[in-house]
Subunit: 123 residues, 2 copies
């Protein structure tokens, strides 16, 4: 077991190991907490523009996230429709839903990792 550093840190502070996780290709991130929330909000609201509003993100950024994400998958995870009933909208494909599930499971494993490491700081 690795040595503790408890004695180094101020004992009155709650110190934790934090982190961030994403999927990347060619060193470029294309899926993380932001895109996850975006997909969830698109699923909820039926459009990119409403999703963006719901999460206080500019439409442009939301569109770019979505577009970049679609470029990394063998078939689109978000299908946008410009025009049509109610002006259009965007829907998630089954792959999109599966990606959400995968990332949430990954995030859970990461959470466990972080909690273990944070606990270790207290020893």
């Amino acid at each position: 077991m690795a040595k503790s550093i408890k004695h180094i840190l101020k004992k009155e502070l709650e110190i934790k190991v934090g982190g961030k996780l994403w999927l990347e290709s060619e060193g470029e991130r294309f899926f993380g907490p932001g895109p996850l929330e975006l997909l969830e909000k698109i699923e909820e609201t039926g459009s990119i523009s409403n999703a963006a509003k719901a999460m206080n993100m500019s439409y442009k950024k939301a569109w770019e996230l979505m577009n970049h994400l679609n470029s990394q998958t063998s078939s689109p995870v978000v299908v946008p429709q410009a025009g049509g009933e109610k002006g259009g909208g965007s829907t998630l494909t089954p792959d999109g839903l599966e990606l959400i599930k995968y990332y949430k499971a990954l995030r859970k494993r990461f959470k466990t990792f972080l909690e273990n490491e944070s606990d270790r700081l207290k020893i």
Copy 2:
């Protein structure tokens, strides 16, 4: 074992799980890759100002990182001296060296986690 998402991602791309790790207190980060490199460079060069130059960081930011870091530990990890021989300089305390060791070990465990998760993407 969790389900794979291999079929979702473009097969011609090298997709990996990436991440970032840090120490935080009260939700505020105070130690990560940046401060690690800073401590190492201070140890190498003997001063904050030289360390900052070596890693292409402004002196101000380097000083702030160092100062914030020192505020989270029971005793300083960097001891700065203004004035004196050669104008002064900064040295790491044993605690500072230990913090480096700890973070590198933590980073190694994280690397393993990321590699496992990345491998899982290929299955």
